[in-house]
């Protein structure tokens, strides 16, 4: 199903991911990381529920568990000692908290990456790289075209060779190597030939003429501009308060977090809004759609 987040302009999506990745990688504050975690999971669930849960159980939860177990085993800093390992090293409360937090952080980065992969399709990434390096974007496009072609042809060659009795799964090692080399040679020749033909096709269509332009299939709308501005403003406020030290956290030697107050709550709130922006957008669109449906 198409969701509203996919319809954002690539630039808006890019700003979102840069901000949220940046903040979640550099900051390990219980509230901030918690907000990131919740919004990352919600986003993942909305984008592709089935795949997400598969990934969640196979990858993210193990990562979190490993983070929680490993840190206290190797880090013995902290003042609140709970227990002594047999080798005499202490198990501290601080190291457990730190382990939990880092596990959650890694988990949310994975989760965000999942959404990133789903949303930032190749043409979007190409558009973004093309903004900075126009020539590279065409090369990427050609590589993305070449890889599936190569794979397909390779399977074709392997099957064809096998069927005339020259497959690479023969028992005789000498023949096996010989046939594998031949397949490699065929693929090299093929790649060369097909790129010659491709370059013919490019030249025939005027590639290399002076003043090449770049077609962008995305249109930036007012909505995108509003979204980008909103994200940049909230993002800057959050980053500013993190830098200045209004929001901080210590894990060692003892756990200490910034005092809460009106200002801090506002920053938390702003960050929550920012990180949930795509989720809000998707849900709002669904709600509007439903209400329009029910009116009919």
């Amino acid at each position: 199903m198409k969701n509203q987040f996919e319809n954002w302009h690539p630039l808006a999506q890019f700003v979102y991911f840069v901000l949220i990745f940046g903040i979640s990688v550099f900051v390990m504050h219980p509230v901030i990381t918690g907000i990131t975690f919740v919004s990352a999971i919600t986003l993942g669930v909305i984008i592709d529920r089935k795949k997400f849960f598969k990934m969640l159980f196979c990858l993210y939860i193990p990562a979190i568990i490993i983070g929680i177990i490993i840190n206290p085993l190797f880090s013995h800093e902290g003042v609140s000692i709970l227990w002594y390992f047999p080798d005499g090293n202490p198990l501290t409360l601080e190291s457990i908290i730190y382990g939990i937090m880092s596990g959650i952080m890694i988990g949310s980065i994975f989760t965000l990456f999942f959404s990133f992969n789903k949303i930032m399709t190749s043409d979007r990434i190409m558009y973004l790289t093309g903004c900075i390096f126009p020539h590279i974007s065409l090369i990427i496009a050609m590589v993305l075209r070449f890889i599936p072609e190569f794979k397909y042809h390779l399977s074709e060659v392997l099957n064809a060779q096998k069927c005339i009795g020259k497959g690479i799964n023969e028992k005789n090692v000498f023949n096996k190597i010989k046939n594998a080399c031949a397949v490699m040679q065929i693929m090299a020749t093929w790649a060369f030939e097909s790129s010659v033909e491709k370059s013919d096709s490019m030249r025939a269509r005027g590639y290399g003429l002076y003043g090449r332009s770049r077609y962008v299939p995305f249109k930036i709308t007012k909505r995108d501009i509003i979204l980008i501005t909103a994200m940049i403003i909230t993002g800057s406020i959050v980053i500013y308060s993190l830098c200045v030290g209004n929001i901080y956290v210590w894990y060692y030697p003892y756990f200490k977090i910034n005092e809460s107050g009106g200002y801090v709550y506002i920053v938390y709130f702003l960050y929550a809004v920012m990180s949930m922006l795509p989720v809000f957008d998707i849900l709002m669109e669904e709600a509007v759609w439903k209400s329009l449906q029910s009116k009919i």
């Binding site: 065409l138 075209r145 074709e156 069927c163 332009s213």
Partner: protein, 548 residues
């Protein structure tokens, strides 16, 4: 006014022995639909490549080519890129980028159009060619026919004056080819664009063109409208490649310069011809199964590529009798190639059983390939391993005795003697196909499995191929082929089967099979079915008409 004027063009490839083009003179008028045809390797592709400076091959060249009155080499590249569009043979290798929309925009980007212009043009092209449904797709997801339509559309996006097409439908199935040609016709009629097309499959394209140029050994042997062409080449061996209605009606003595060129005209002609004659009693020569053993048996085979994907084969049942020529017909994407791979054991079905010579394919292992089964893949280049044809095919000989003799025999049989010392990649599509076939035949398999063997063949070589088949069948070899080429199958197969939706829908002996279908049948049958419902080949119709 002439768009192209070619004067005394002579050309020789650096390694070639003969002249690829020999003193060619040709004028192409504005707004013309020009068909260039000829036997495989006659220089037709070489000729049209010279019409675009960026593609002109290197070699010895003399003579002049003018574009709109200016020497082509003096026409700026920008103008050439803009005004002369060129569509190549292979749908795949001319696509540059990975997305459909990007491919459409590629030519316009090169010419430096502004974003707003490109947006309009791309939208226009997508709507005109019916691409909007797959506009955002990856190129790799498209079918062959869609790819070729995309190629045409992306050439048309820059609004050329002339489009040159090099066998654009040779890799497509019949239905997709017709769709493509219909689009081409529409472009020509609605936009007045000059079309120069090279083809060897004339059935569909011949009736729609204004002028036909026939080439042989680098020379133009005939040039004129349809009727003149029919008249000119009546005694040439290339006449075999003409559409079936032309062949039948000429044999029946259609008046000169009024020969029917399509099925409809052919039917009208037959109506007049048959008026007042007594029809023979309906008779069909049923193929009596000789009670031969089945050499390949597939029963209830199910297969899919991905666990979550769709089934490609859905309960396929097929029996291939020993020593018979069995043809499987069907459109693109009906699972024909998958079926062949499954029968060879290259793909493992998740349900059902395939046996070869009474032994389950799974238990055969590697002993199956080479001596028992030899397969010619759809893409012949997948077989070539060496730098020249001779070395390449001699690699396949199993026992060294009489190797030279065998090679000589097979190359004579397949008409590749002249090209034995060339690089396989330098050959034309039809030549590559024949060399690949030579390789497979030299492994001396008991069962020959062929995936589209007649692709890129002209009438002459098809007849040659049929002779080879006959010889092999006499030697007791079983042939199973998958093809789009209805006419070929009708003429030479023992049994035919129609593959549809992952299964075999109909199967039977040739006459039974084709006379039962009304669309998916040969043109000869479509033309004459009122009178001779059981006649499927041009020869049969001809004979029956004359004898009644």
């Amino acid at each position: 006014m002439e768009v192209f004027t070619i004067e005394n063009l002579t050309f020789k490839y650096p390694q070639g022995k003969n002249y690829a083009l020999d003193n060619v003179n040709l004028k192409v008028n504005k707004g013309e639909f020009l068909l260039i045809c000829g036997k495989s390797g006659c220089g037709k592709t070489t000729l049209i490549k010279h019409m675009k400076a960026a593609l002109a091959p290197a070699g010895e060249k003399s003579g002049d080519i003018y574009y709109n009155g200016t020497l082509l080499c003096d026409v700026p590249e920008r103008i050439q890129a803009q005004e002369i569009g060129y569509v190549m043979q292979s749908p795949d290798s001319q696509i540059v980028t990975d997305k459909v929309w990007h491919e459409l925009a590629f030519g316009l980007e090169n010419l430096g159009y502004k974003n707003s212009v490109i947006r309009i043009r791309v939208a226009e092209m997508a709507s005109y060619f019916g691409i909007q449904n797959w506009f955002h797709k990856d190129v790799k997801e498209l079918s062959g026919g869609q790819k070729q339509i995309l190629n045409l559309a992306s050439i048309m996006a820059v609004q050329p004056e002339v489009i040159i097409l090099d066998e654009p439908t040779s890799q497509l199935c019949n239905i997709a080819a017709q769709e493509f040609l219909a689009l081409l016709k529409r472009i020509h009629e609605e936009l007045g664009i000059t079309v120069i097309i090279v083809e060897h499959r004339l059935e569909n394209v011949f009736p729609m063109c204004d002028r036909v140029v026939v080439m042989d050994k680098g020379k133009i042997i005939s040039s004129g409208n349809l009727q003149q062409t029919i008249h000119n080449i009546k005694d040439n061996e290339f006449f075999d490649a003409m559409p079936v209605p032309v062949k039948i009606c000429t044999a029946l003595g259609a008046p000169e310069y009024k020969v029917p060129v399509n099925v409809n005209e052919g039917r009208c002609f037959l109506e007049k011809y048959m008026a007042g004659k007594n029809l023979p009693k309906e008779s069909s020569t049923h193929y009596i199964g000789c009670g031969r053993d089945n050499i390949i048996e597939a029963s209830d085979v199910w297969f899919r590529y991905d666990k979550d994907g769709e089934d490609v084969l859905k309960g396929l049942n097929l029996n291939v009798e020993k020593g018979s020529l069995t043809c499987v017909l069907g459109g693109n994407g009906t699972g024909k190639t998958t079926m062949l791979y499954t029968l060879c054991g290259l793909l493992k079905p998740y349900r059902g059983k395939v046996t070869v010579k009474g032994k389950n394919v799974k238990k055969w292992g590697n002993g199956l390939y080479g001596k028992v089964i030899g397969m010619l893949p759809q893409n012949p280049t997948a077989l070539f391993r060496r730098d020249n044809v001779y070395e390449d095919i001699s690699e396949c000989i199993i026992d060294g005795k009489n190797a030279d003799k065998k090679i000589e025999e097979i190359s004579r049989l397949l008409d590749i003697t002249d090209i034995l010392d060339m690089h396989p990649y330098d050959l034309s599509g039809g030549e590559q196909q024949r060399c690949a076939l030579a390789k497979v035949l030299l492994t001396e398999p008991e069962i020959l499995i062929l995936d589209e063997p007649t692709k890129g063949f002209d009438g002459f070589h098809k007849r040659k191929l049929a002779e080879i088949f006959k010889k092999l069948l006499n030697d007791g070899i079983t042939i199973l082929m998958v093809s789009h080429d209805i006419e070929f199958c009708a003429e030479y197969a023992d049994r035919c089967a129609l593959c549809f939706d992952g299964g075999i829908t109909v199967s039977g002996d040739v006459t039974e099979f084709f006379s039962g279908n009304s669309f998916y049948t040969t043109s000869a049958n479509r033309m004459a079915r009122e009178y001779f419902p059981y006649a499927v080949t041009a020869e049969e119709v001809k004979e029956l008409c004359i004898t009644t």
